[in-house]
Subunit: 260 residues, 2 copies
Protein backbone atom coordinates (compact mmCIF):
# COMPACT_ATOMS: atom_id res chain seq x y z
CA UNK A 1 0.00 0.00 0.00
CA UNK A 2 1.49 3.29 -1.06
CA UNK A 3 0.46 6.91 -0.98
CA UNK A 4 0.85 8.71 -4.28
CA UNK A 5 0.53 12.41 -4.81
CA UNK A 6 -0.88 14.20 -7.82
CA UNK A 7 2.08 16.48 -8.40
CA UNK A 8 1.39 16.78 -12.09
CA UNK A 9 -1.88 18.54 -11.41
CA UNK A 10 -0.43 21.67 -9.86
CA UNK A 11 2.23 23.21 -12.10
CA UNK A 12 0.47 26.57 -12.14
CA UNK A 13 0.58 26.83 -8.36
CA UNK A 14 4.23 25.80 -8.26
CA UNK A 15 5.13 28.44 -10.81
CA UNK A 16 3.69 31.19 -8.64
CA UNK A 17 5.74 29.96 -5.68
CA UNK A 18 9.05 29.68 -7.47
CA UNK A 19 12.03 31.72 -6.34
CA UNK A 20 14.82 33.07 -8.48
CA UNK A 21 18.16 31.84 -7.18
CA UNK A 22 21.67 32.95 -7.97
CA UNK A 23 25.13 31.56 -7.53
CA UNK A 24 27.35 33.80 -5.44
CA UNK A 25 31.03 33.32 -6.22
CA UNK A 26 34.35 34.93 -5.47
CA UNK A 27 38.06 34.34 -5.68
CA UNK A 28 39.62 33.62 -2.30
CA UNK A 29 43.28 34.10 -1.41
CA UNK A 30 44.70 32.05 1.41
CA UNK A 31 48.04 30.61 2.48
CA UNK A 32 49.74 27.35 3.28
CA UNK A 33 52.97 28.23 5.06
CA UNK A 34 54.39 31.08 2.98
CA UNK A 35 52.71 30.01 -0.24
CA UNK A 36 49.81 32.10 -1.48
CA UNK A 37 46.96 30.01 -2.89
CA UNK A 38 44.00 31.20 -4.91
CA UNK A 39 40.74 29.28 -4.61
CA UNK A 40 37.19 29.83 -5.81
CA UNK A 41 34.26 30.00 -3.42
CA UNK A 42 30.69 29.52 -4.61
CA UNK A 43 27.24 28.91 -3.13
CA UNK A 44 23.64 29.23 -4.20
CA UNK A 45 21.64 31.92 -2.40
CA UNK A 46 18.38 29.99 -2.90
CA UNK A 47 19.35 28.09 0.25
CA UNK A 48 19.38 29.97 3.51
CA UNK A 49 21.82 29.47 6.35
CA UNK A 50 24.36 26.75 6.97
CA UNK A 51 24.64 23.84 4.58
CA UNK A 52 27.03 20.98 3.83
CA UNK A 53 30.43 22.08 2.59
CA UNK A 54 32.16 20.49 -0.38
CA UNK A 55 35.78 20.89 -1.37
CA UNK A 56 36.57 20.53 -5.10
CA UNK A 57 40.13 19.64 -6.07
CA UNK A 58 41.54 20.32 -9.52
CA UNK A 59 43.24 18.25 -12.20
CA UNK A 60 46.91 18.38 -13.06
CA UNK A 61 46.67 21.74 -14.82
CA UNK A 62 45.59 23.45 -11.61
CA UNK A 63 42.38 25.25 -10.73
CA UNK A 64 40.82 26.46 -13.97
CA UNK A 65 37.56 26.96 -15.81
CA UNK A 66 36.67 23.26 -15.63
CA UNK A 67 36.93 23.06 -11.85
CA UNK A 68 35.08 26.35 -11.40
CA UNK A 69 32.23 25.02 -13.51
CA UNK A 70 32.15 21.81 -11.44
CA UNK A 71 32.18 23.88 -8.25
CA UNK A 72 29.19 25.82 -9.56
CA UNK A 73 27.38 22.59 -10.40
CA UNK A 74 27.96 21.30 -6.88
CA UNK A 75 26.85 24.64 -5.41
CA UNK A 76 23.69 24.30 -7.50
CA UNK A 77 22.91 21.13 -5.55
CA UNK A 78 22.69 23.25 -2.40
CA UNK A 79 26.19 23.00 -0.95
CA UNK A 80 28.78 25.56 0.10
CA UNK A 81 31.73 24.93 -2.19
CA UNK A 82 35.40 25.82 -2.25
CA UNK A 83 37.47 24.87 -5.29
CA UNK A 84 40.93 24.77 -3.79
CA UNK A 85 44.33 25.58 -5.21
CA UNK A 86 47.09 23.07 -4.51
CA UNK A 87 49.83 24.54 -6.71
CA UNK A 88 49.92 28.21 -5.69
CA UNK A 89 48.57 31.46 -7.10
CA UNK A 90 49.40 31.84 -10.77
CA UNK A 91 50.78 28.32 -11.16
CA UNK A 92 48.53 26.94 -13.86
CA UNK A 93 50.60 24.75 -16.20
CA UNK A 94 49.10 24.83 -19.69
CA UNK A 95 50.83 21.86 -21.27
CA UNK A 96 51.12 18.18 -20.31
CA UNK A 97 54.85 18.31 -19.58
CA UNK A 98 54.59 21.14 -17.08
CA UNK A 99 51.33 19.80 -15.65
CA UNK A 100 52.91 16.41 -15.10
CA UNK A 101 55.94 17.96 -13.45
CA UNK A 102 53.81 20.10 -11.14
CA UNK A 103 51.49 17.23 -10.19
CA UNK A 104 54.54 15.03 -9.68
CA UNK A 105 55.96 17.38 -7.05
CA UNK A 106 52.94 16.69 -4.89
CA UNK A 107 52.47 13.04 -5.73
CA UNK A 108 56.07 12.55 -4.60
CA UNK A 109 55.58 14.65 -1.48
CA UNK A 110 52.36 13.50 0.11
CA UNK A 111 52.92 15.46 3.34
CA UNK A 112 53.04 18.67 1.29
CA UNK A 113 49.98 17.59 -0.71
CA UNK A 114 48.12 16.96 2.53
CA UNK A 115 49.16 20.33 3.94
CA UNK A 116 48.01 22.15 0.80
CA UNK A 117 44.58 20.54 0.64
CA UNK A 118 44.22 20.89 4.40
CA UNK A 119 44.72 24.65 4.04
CA UNK A 120 41.76 24.69 1.65
CA UNK A 121 39.68 22.63 4.05
CA UNK A 122 40.44 25.18 6.77
CA UNK A 123 39.09 27.96 4.55
CA UNK A 124 35.92 26.00 3.90
CA UNK A 125 35.39 25.20 7.57
CA UNK A 126 35.83 28.87 8.51
CA UNK A 127 33.12 29.93 6.04
CA UNK A 128 29.98 31.06 7.88
CA UNK A 129 27.70 28.97 5.65
CA UNK A 130 29.50 25.66 6.22
CA UNK A 131 27.84 23.11 8.48
CA UNK A 132 30.92 21.72 10.22
CA UNK A 133 29.37 18.30 10.73
CA UNK A 134 28.69 17.81 7.02
CA UNK A 135 31.78 18.22 4.87
CA UNK A 136 32.93 16.24 1.86
CA UNK A 137 35.63 16.56 -0.77
CA UNK A 138 35.62 15.61 -4.42
CA UNK A 139 38.42 15.69 -6.95
CA UNK A 140 39.21 15.00 -10.56
CA UNK A 141 42.32 13.11 -11.73
CA UNK A 142 45.13 14.63 -9.61
CA UNK A 143 42.33 15.99 -7.41
CA UNK A 144 40.97 12.48 -6.90
CA UNK A 145 44.34 11.40 -5.60
CA UNK A 146 44.36 14.50 -3.41
CA UNK A 147 41.00 13.89 -1.74
CA UNK A 148 42.02 10.30 -1.00
CA UNK A 149 45.23 11.66 0.53
CA UNK A 150 43.16 14.10 2.60
CA UNK A 151 41.11 11.16 3.86
CA UNK A 152 44.27 9.16 4.61
CA UNK A 153 45.52 12.09 6.71
CA UNK A 154 42.62 11.40 9.07
CA UNK A 155 40.73 14.59 8.20
CA UNK A 156 37.33 14.83 9.79
CA UNK A 157 35.23 14.49 6.64
CA UNK A 158 31.95 12.72 5.98
CA UNK A 159 33.16 11.45 2.64
CA UNK A 160 35.36 11.83 -0.40
CA UNK A 161 34.72 11.16 -4.09
CA UNK A 162 37.49 10.52 -6.60
CA UNK A 163 36.66 10.95 -10.29
CA UNK A 164 39.27 9.11 -12.40
CA UNK A 165 41.87 9.77 -9.74
CA UNK A 166 45.09 7.89 -9.23
CA UNK A 167 44.50 5.39 -6.43
CA UNK A 168 48.00 4.46 -5.32
CA UNK A 169 49.45 5.30 -1.92
CA UNK A 170 53.08 5.20 -0.79
CA UNK A 171 51.81 4.57 2.76
CA UNK A 172 48.82 2.20 2.48
CA UNK A 173 48.88 1.67 6.24
CA UNK A 174 47.49 5.21 6.56
CA UNK A 175 44.12 3.87 5.44
CA UNK A 176 43.51 3.00 9.09
CA UNK A 177 43.24 6.77 9.75
CA UNK A 178 40.40 7.25 7.27
CA UNK A 179 37.20 8.56 8.83
CA UNK A 180 35.52 9.50 5.53
CA UNK A 181 33.38 7.20 3.46
CA UNK A 182 35.15 6.67 0.16
CA UNK A 183 33.63 6.52 -3.32
CA UNK A 184 36.03 5.91 -6.20
CA UNK A 185 34.64 6.46 -9.71
CA UNK A 186 36.93 4.74 -12.15
CA UNK A 187 37.19 4.33 -15.90
CA UNK A 188 37.51 0.59 -16.43
CA UNK A 189 39.83 1.16 -19.39
CA UNK A 190 41.93 3.91 -17.79
CA UNK A 191 45.56 3.09 -18.69
CA UNK A 192 46.82 5.56 -16.09
CA UNK A 193 45.03 3.71 -13.28
CA UNK A 194 45.62 0.09 -14.27
CA UNK A 195 44.02 -3.01 -12.79
CA UNK A 196 46.94 -3.67 -10.43
CA UNK A 197 46.56 -0.17 -8.95
CA UNK A 198 42.83 -0.69 -8.49
CA UNK A 199 43.47 -4.04 -6.80
CA UNK A 200 46.06 -2.50 -4.48
CA UNK A 201 43.64 0.31 -3.61
CA UNK A 202 40.86 -2.16 -2.83
CA UNK A 203 43.24 -4.08 -0.63
CA UNK A 204 44.35 -0.88 1.10
CA UNK A 205 40.72 0.01 1.82
CA UNK A 206 40.00 -3.53 2.99
CA UNK A 207 42.98 -3.66 5.34
CA UNK A 208 42.09 -0.22 6.71
CA UNK A 209 38.49 -1.29 7.33
CA UNK A 210 37.32 1.73 5.38
CA UNK A 211 33.71 2.23 4.25
CA UNK A 212 34.48 2.21 0.52
CA UNK A 213 32.85 1.69 -2.86
CA UNK A 214 34.31 1.65 -6.34
CA UNK A 215 32.36 2.00 -9.56
CA UNK A 216 34.04 0.82 -12.74
CA UNK A 217 32.61 2.35 -15.92
CA UNK A 218 33.04 0.10 -18.94
CA UNK A 219 34.53 1.79 -22.00
CA UNK A 220 35.72 4.82 -20.04
CA UNK A 221 39.36 5.91 -19.98
CA UNK A 222 41.14 8.63 -18.00
CA UNK A 223 39.53 12.10 -17.80
CA UNK A 224 36.11 10.68 -18.63
CA UNK A 225 34.31 13.63 -17.03
CA UNK A 226 36.41 16.29 -18.75
CA UNK A 227 34.49 18.00 -21.54
CA UNK A 228 37.64 19.20 -23.28
CA UNK A 229 39.46 15.87 -23.25
CA UNK A 230 38.35 14.93 -26.77
CA UNK A 231 36.75 11.69 -27.86
CA UNK A 232 39.74 9.56 -28.87
CA UNK A 233 39.89 6.85 -26.21
CA UNK A 234 42.96 5.34 -27.84
CA UNK A 235 44.96 8.25 -26.39
CA UNK A 236 44.14 6.95 -22.91
CA UNK A 237 42.26 10.08 -21.84
CA UNK A 238 38.95 11.15 -23.36
CA UNK A 239 35.57 12.53 -22.47
CA UNK A 240 32.86 9.89 -22.10
CA UNK A 241 29.43 11.44 -21.78
CA UNK A 242 27.80 8.27 -20.49
CA UNK A 243 30.34 7.78 -17.71
CA UNK A 244 30.34 11.51 -16.96
CA UNK A 245 26.60 11.57 -16.40
CA UNK A 246 26.51 8.29 -14.52
CA UNK A 247 29.31 9.31 -12.19
CA UNK A 248 27.65 12.65 -11.47
CA UNK A 249 24.41 10.81 -10.71
CA UNK A 250 26.29 8.37 -8.46
CA UNK A 251 27.67 11.27 -6.44
CA UNK A 252 24.21 12.56 -5.55
CA UNK A 253 22.89 9.63 -3.47
CA UNK A 254 26.34 9.35 -1.90
CA UNK A 255 26.07 12.96 -0.75
CA UNK A 256 22.50 12.33 0.36
CA UNK A 257 23.74 9.48 2.54
CA UNK A 258 26.67 11.50 3.93
CA UNK A 259 24.61 14.58 4.70
CA UNK A 260 21.36 13.06 5.92
Amino acid sequence: MLMRTGLLLIPALLATLSVRAELVSKTVEYKQGDTVLEGYSVYDNATQGKRPGVLVVHQWQGLGAYEKKRAEMVAGLGYNVLAVDIYGKGIRPDNPRDAGAEAGKFKDNRPLLRARVRAGLDVLTRHELTDLKRIAAIGYCFGGTTVLELARSGADLAGVVSFHGGLSSPTPGDAKNIKAKVLALHGADDPFVPAAEVAAFEDEMRQGRVDWQLIAYGGAVHSFTHWDAGSDSSRGAAYNERADKRSWEAMKPFFAELFK
Copy 2:
Protein backbone atom coordinates in the same frame (compact mmCIF):
# COMPACT_ATOMS: atom_id res chain seq x y z
CA MET B 1 20.65 30.65 -12.11
CA LEU B 2 18.14 28.12 -10.89
CA MET B 3 14.41 27.99 -10.38
CA ARG B 4 13.43 26.76 -6.96
CA THR B 5 9.95 25.86 -5.89
CA GLY B 6 8.32 26.31 -2.53
CA LEU B 7 7.09 22.75 -2.17
CA LEU B 8 7.18 22.88 1.59
CA LEU B 9 4.42 25.46 1.62
CA ILE B 10 1.72 23.22 0.18
CA PRO B 11 1.46 19.93 2.08
CA ALA B 12 -2.22 20.47 2.74
CA LEU B 13 -3.00 20.72 -0.95
CA LEU B 14 -0.92 17.65 -1.74
CA ALA B 15 -2.74 15.67 0.90
CA THR B 16 -6.08 16.40 -0.69
CA LEU B 17 -4.73 15.23 -4.06
CA SER B 18 -3.19 11.99 -2.86
CA VAL B 19 -4.42 8.72 -4.24
CA ARG B 20 -4.55 5.42 -2.46
CA ALA B 21 -2.61 2.86 -4.46
CA GLU B 22 -2.51 -0.88 -4.18
CA LEU B 23 -0.28 -3.62 -5.39
CA VAL B 24 -2.12 -6.13 -7.53
CA SER B 25 -0.46 -9.53 -7.47
CA LYS B 26 -1.16 -13.06 -8.60
CA THR B 27 0.51 -16.40 -9.09
CA VAL B 28 1.04 -17.21 -12.77
CA GLU B 29 1.48 -20.69 -14.21
CA TYR B 30 3.34 -21.03 -17.48
CA LYS B 31 5.47 -23.58 -19.29
CA GLN B 32 8.89 -24.07 -20.77
CA GLY B 33 8.70 -27.16 -22.94
CA ASP B 34 6.77 -29.64 -20.82
CA THR B 35 7.86 -28.13 -17.51
CA VAL B 36 5.27 -26.22 -15.53
CA LEU B 37 6.66 -23.06 -13.93
CA GLU B 38 5.03 -20.92 -11.28
CA GLY B 39 5.85 -17.20 -11.27
CA TYR B 40 4.52 -14.20 -9.38
CA SER B 41 3.10 -11.18 -11.21
CA VAL B 42 2.73 -7.83 -9.47
CA TYR B 43 2.05 -4.21 -10.39
CA ASP B 44 0.90 -1.06 -8.69
CA ASN B 45 -2.52 0.23 -9.74
CA ALA B 46 -1.56 3.82 -8.93
CA THR B 47 -0.04 3.92 -12.41
CA GLN B 48 -2.38 3.73 -15.37
CA GLY B 49 -1.67 1.95 -18.63
CA LYS B 50 1.50 0.46 -20.01
CA ARG B 51 4.74 0.82 -18.10
CA PRO B 52 8.26 -0.63 -18.15
CA GLY B 53 8.41 -4.33 -17.40
CA VAL B 54 10.92 -5.84 -15.00
CA LEU B 55 11.76 -9.50 -14.61
CA VAL B 56 12.98 -10.61 -11.16
CA VAL B 57 15.02 -13.81 -10.94
CA HIS B 58 15.39 -15.79 -7.75
CA GLN B 59 18.29 -17.09 -5.68
CA TRP B 60 19.37 -20.69 -5.44
CA GLN B 61 16.44 -21.73 -3.26
CA GLY B 62 13.97 -20.85 -5.99
CA LEU B 63 11.18 -18.29 -6.07
CA GLY B 64 10.15 -17.59 -2.49
CA ALA B 65 9.08 -14.91 -0.06
CA TYR B 66 12.27 -12.90 -0.55
CA GLU B 67 11.88 -12.59 -4.29
CA LYS B 68 8.16 -11.83 -4.00
CA LYS B 69 8.97 -8.99 -1.62
CA ARG B 70 11.60 -7.66 -4.03
CA ALA B 71 9.10 -7.94 -6.88
CA GLU B 72 6.65 -5.87 -4.85
CA MET B 73 9.30 -3.27 -4.11
CA VAL B 74 10.07 -2.97 -7.82
CA ALA B 75 6.35 -2.79 -8.63
CA GLY B 76 6.12 0.03 -6.11
CA LEU B 77 8.56 1.99 -8.27
CA GLY B 78 5.94 1.94 -11.03
CA TYR B 79 6.94 -1.09 -13.08
CA ASN B 80 5.10 -4.19 -14.22
CA VAL B 81 6.93 -7.06 -12.59
CA LEU B 82 7.17 -10.79 -13.06
CA ALA B 83 9.18 -12.83 -10.59
CA VAL B 84 10.01 -15.88 -12.66
CA ASP B 85 10.47 -19.51 -11.77
CA ILE B 86 13.51 -21.22 -13.24
CA TYR B 87 13.30 -24.54 -11.39
CA GLY B 88 9.70 -25.65 -11.94
CA LYS B 89 6.49 -25.57 -9.92
CA GLY B 90 7.01 -26.93 -6.42
CA ILE B 91 10.78 -27.17 -6.73
CA ARG B 92 11.90 -24.99 -3.85
CA PRO B 93 14.97 -26.54 -2.21
CA ASP B 94 15.06 -25.60 1.46
CA ASN B 95 18.64 -26.51 2.32
CA PRO B 96 22.03 -25.51 0.87
CA ARG B 97 22.85 -28.97 -0.47
CA ASP B 98 19.68 -29.30 -2.51
CA ALA B 99 19.75 -25.63 -3.50
CA GLY B 100 23.31 -25.99 -4.75
CA ALA B 101 22.42 -29.11 -6.69
CA GLU B 102 19.40 -27.48 -8.30
CA ALA B 103 21.27 -24.28 -9.20
CA GLY B 104 24.13 -26.40 -10.50
CA LYS B 105 21.85 -28.13 -13.02
CA PHE B 106 21.27 -24.80 -14.68
CA LYS B 107 24.73 -23.32 -14.26
CA ASP B 108 26.02 -26.42 -16.04
CA ASN B 109 23.36 -26.21 -18.73
CA ARG B 110 23.25 -22.63 -19.89
CA PRO B 111 21.00 -23.34 -22.89
CA LEU B 112 18.37 -24.73 -20.49
CA LEU B 113 18.85 -21.77 -18.14
CA ARG B 114 18.34 -19.41 -21.07
CA ALA B 115 15.22 -21.25 -22.19
CA ARG B 116 13.72 -21.14 -18.70
CA VAL B 117 14.28 -17.44 -18.16
CA ARG B 118 13.19 -16.72 -21.72
CA ALA B 119 9.86 -18.40 -20.97
CA GLY B 120 9.38 -15.94 -18.12
CA LEU B 121 10.30 -13.03 -20.36
CA ASP B 122 7.65 -14.19 -22.82
CA VAL B 123 5.01 -14.08 -20.07
CA LEU B 124 6.07 -10.57 -19.13
CA THR B 125 6.03 -9.34 -22.73
CA ARG B 126 2.53 -10.78 -23.26
CA HIS B 127 1.18 -8.88 -20.26
CA GLU B 128 -1.09 -6.05 -21.35
CA LEU B 129 0.60 -3.53 -19.03
CA THR B 130 4.14 -4.10 -20.32
CA ASP B 131 5.67 -1.46 -22.56
CA LEU B 132 7.57 -3.71 -24.96
CA LYS B 133 10.25 -1.13 -25.63
CA ARG B 134 11.16 -0.81 -21.96
CA ILE B 135 12.04 -4.12 -20.35
CA ALA B 136 14.76 -4.95 -17.86
CA ALA B 137 15.69 -7.94 -15.73
CA ILE B 138 17.22 -8.10 -12.27
CA GLY B 139 18.39 -11.08 -10.30
CA TYR B 140 19.89 -12.07 -7.00
CA CYS B 141 22.77 -14.55 -6.63
CA PHE B 142 21.79 -17.40 -8.98
CA GLY B 143 19.32 -14.92 -10.48
CA GLY B 144 22.14 -12.48 -11.19
CA THR B 145 23.91 -15.16 -13.18
CA THR B 146 20.60 -15.85 -14.92
CA VAL B 147 19.92 -12.28 -16.06
CA LEU B 148 23.45 -12.02 -17.41
CA GLU B 149 22.84 -15.28 -19.29
CA LEU B 150 19.60 -13.84 -20.64
CA ALA B 151 21.54 -10.83 -21.89
CA ARG B 152 24.22 -13.08 -23.43
CA SER B 153 21.46 -14.90 -25.32
CA GLY B 154 20.85 -11.66 -27.21
CA ALA B 155 17.46 -10.98 -25.62
CA ASP B 156 15.97 -7.64 -26.55
CA LEU B 157 16.24 -5.97 -23.16
CA ALA B 158 17.08 -2.41 -22.17
CA GLY B 159 19.19 -3.58 -19.28
CA VAL B 160 20.01 -6.16 -16.63
CA VAL B 161 21.10 -5.82 -13.02
CA SER B 162 22.93 -8.55 -11.12
CA PHE B 163 22.92 -8.36 -7.32
CA HIS B 164 25.78 -10.50 -5.96
CA GLY B 165 25.44 -12.83 -8.92
CA GLY B 166 28.05 -15.23 -10.21
CA LEU B 167 29.74 -13.53 -13.16
CA SER B 168 31.43 -16.40 -14.97
CA SER B 169 30.47 -17.59 -18.42
CA PRO B 170 31.42 -20.83 -20.19
CA THR B 171 31.03 -18.99 -23.49
CA PRO B 172 32.45 -15.48 -23.02
CA GLY B 173 32.31 -14.89 -26.76
CA ASP B 174 28.52 -14.64 -26.39
CA ALA B 175 29.01 -11.19 -24.88
CA LYS B 176 29.01 -9.87 -28.43
CA ASN B 177 25.28 -10.71 -28.55
CA ILE B 178 24.44 -8.51 -25.60
CA LYS B 179 22.03 -5.70 -26.38
CA ALA B 180 21.21 -4.84 -22.77
CA LYS B 181 23.14 -2.36 -20.66
CA VAL B 182 24.71 -4.30 -17.81
CA LEU B 183 25.01 -3.26 -14.17
CA ALA B 184 26.78 -5.69 -11.85
CA LEU B 185 26.46 -5.01 -8.11
CA HIS B 186 29.17 -6.92 -6.34
CA GLY B 187 30.30 -7.52 -2.78
CA ALA B 188 34.00 -6.71 -2.79
CA ASP B 189 34.65 -9.46 -0.22
CA ASP B 190 32.37 -12.09 -1.80
CA PRO B 191 34.35 -15.35 -1.65
CA PHE B 192 31.93 -16.99 -4.10
CA VAL B 193 32.67 -14.39 -6.76
CA PRO B 194 36.43 -13.94 -6.37
CA ALA B 195 38.62 -11.27 -7.94
CA ALA B 196 39.67 -13.51 -10.82
CA GLU B 197 36.02 -14.06 -11.76
CA VAL B 198 35.35 -10.32 -11.63
CA ALA B 199 38.39 -9.66 -13.81
CA ALA B 200 37.28 -12.29 -16.34
CA PHE B 201 33.80 -10.77 -16.41
CA GLU B 202 35.18 -7.30 -17.00
CA ASP B 203 37.30 -8.66 -19.81
CA GLU B 204 34.31 -10.48 -21.29
CA MET B 205 32.30 -7.25 -21.25
CA ARG B 206 35.23 -5.31 -22.71
CA GLN B 207 35.78 -7.78 -25.53
CA GLY B 208 32.07 -7.86 -26.29
CA ARG B 209 31.93 -4.05 -26.41
CA VAL B 210 29.08 -4.13 -23.92
CA ASP B 211 27.78 -1.03 -22.12
CA TRP B 212 28.66 -2.22 -18.62
CA GLN B 213 29.27 -0.95 -15.10
CA LEU B 214 30.32 -2.76 -11.96
CA ILE B 215 30.00 -1.44 -8.43
CA ALA B 216 32.14 -3.06 -5.76
CA TYR B 217 30.85 -2.60 -2.22
CA GLY B 218 33.61 -2.66 0.38
CA GLY B 219 32.98 -4.99 3.30
CA ALA B 220 30.13 -6.82 1.57
CA VAL B 221 30.13 -10.57 1.04
CA HIS B 222 27.75 -12.85 -0.85
CA SER B 223 23.99 -12.39 -0.34
CA PHE B 224 24.48 -8.82 0.89
CA THR B 225 20.89 -7.85 0.01
CA HIS B 226 19.30 -10.88 1.68
CA TRP B 227 17.62 -9.96 4.95
CA ASP B 228 17.69 -13.53 6.23
CA ALA B 229 21.35 -14.19 5.48
CA GLY B 230 22.52 -13.30 8.97
CA SER B 231 25.30 -10.93 9.91
CA ASP B 232 28.34 -13.19 10.11
CA SER B 233 30.48 -12.15 7.15
CA SER B 234 33.06 -14.79 8.01
CA ARG B 235 30.65 -17.39 6.62
CA GLY B 236 31.04 -15.77 3.20
CA ALA B 237 27.37 -14.84 2.88
CA ALA B 238 25.67 -12.24 5.07
CA TYR B 239 23.23 -9.38 4.97
CA ASN B 240 24.88 -5.95 4.73
CA GLU B 241 22.38 -3.17 5.21
CA ARG B 242 24.67 -0.49 3.84
CA ALA B 243 25.39 -2.37 0.62
CA ASP B 244 21.75 -3.44 0.36
CA LYS B 245 20.51 0.14 0.46
CA ARG B 246 23.25 1.47 -1.78
CA SER B 247 22.68 -1.18 -4.40
CA TRP B 248 18.94 -0.56 -4.39
CA GLU B 249 19.60 3.16 -4.80
CA ALA B 250 22.04 2.44 -7.64
CA MET B 251 19.37 0.48 -9.49
CA LYS B 252 17.00 3.45 -9.59
CA PRO B 253 19.01 5.87 -11.76
CA PHE B 254 20.00 2.90 -13.94
CA PHE B 255 16.32 2.19 -14.55
CA ALA B 256 15.69 5.90 -15.10
CA GLU B 257 18.37 5.88 -17.79
CA LEU B 258 17.06 2.68 -19.40
CA PHE B 259 13.44 3.75 -19.42
CA LYS B 260 13.73 7.45 -20.24
